[in-house]
Symmetry: C2
């Protein structure tokens, strides 16, 4: 069973630099949260992370993820997207630069020159199972 | 072991209508997210919910919670507060009106006249175990 994103939610993701809050499951079962840049491919959400980060290690162990999208200029509207992820290193640098240009207007290396050059980036593809909320 | 909130984080909670994202654990172990008004009492975070809401049922079953605070006007700063909750009906209406005035300038019944009059509200007190992030 997969779920669809509404047209409003797609527009917010496509047309605005909305940040997403991503929840993963810690080894002890408690929730872990982080803020991330986000885009989409059809109904799948896409974000970038790095091999070894807590979020990445959690998602390799338990692929369940919940993503909250809550526009800063409309704080009483939101979408809570529950789904599961696939991780892939293919296209990871392309996605990172695409996200960086969306949010900062610059390629990632220019936005964050201090970032490790050899860091192994990962594409996280979220296939929604359920979308809750007003978006 | 409890953790403290930084002075910057306290100021953001006290002086700005920052929204918080709250993560609880679903019965199946996956994360559940919601957006909420927030305040604090010392180092404890306080928010309001309603008996029977998913968040409330989750927290009664598993008191572990993670709260993300990420100011809309400073999206690269955040605090991820991990802790556990105590639920209480005492002072629930007072807290709800206090939060409503902070975020809307009105008592809750005036802000949301459609809200059920007899809904049983709950104070959720989060005692931080760990604070991660830049705030």
């Amino acid at each position: 069973m997969t779920a669809s994103l509404s047209d409003d939610l797609k527009s917010i993701i496509d047309d605005t630099p909305v940040f997403a809050t991503v929840a993963t499951v810690q080894p002890d079962g408690s929730p872990q949260l982080s803020i991330t840049w986000i885009t989409r491919d059809g109904d799948d959400l896409l974000f970038s992370t790095q091999v070894g980060f807590q979020k990445e290690r959690n998602l390799r162990r338990d692929p369940r993820v919940t993503v909250m999208i809550n526009p800063a200029d409309a704080p009483y509207t939101y979408a809570e997207v529950r789904g599961s992820v696939e991780l892939s290193s293919e296209g990871a640098q392309v996605l990172l630069d695409q996200l960086s240009r969306k949010y900062t207007g610059k390629d990632y290396a220019e936005f964050r020159p201090s970032a490790k050059k050899n860091a192994e980036r990962v594409v996280v593809r979220v296939t929604p199972r359920k979308v809750v909320g007003s978006l």
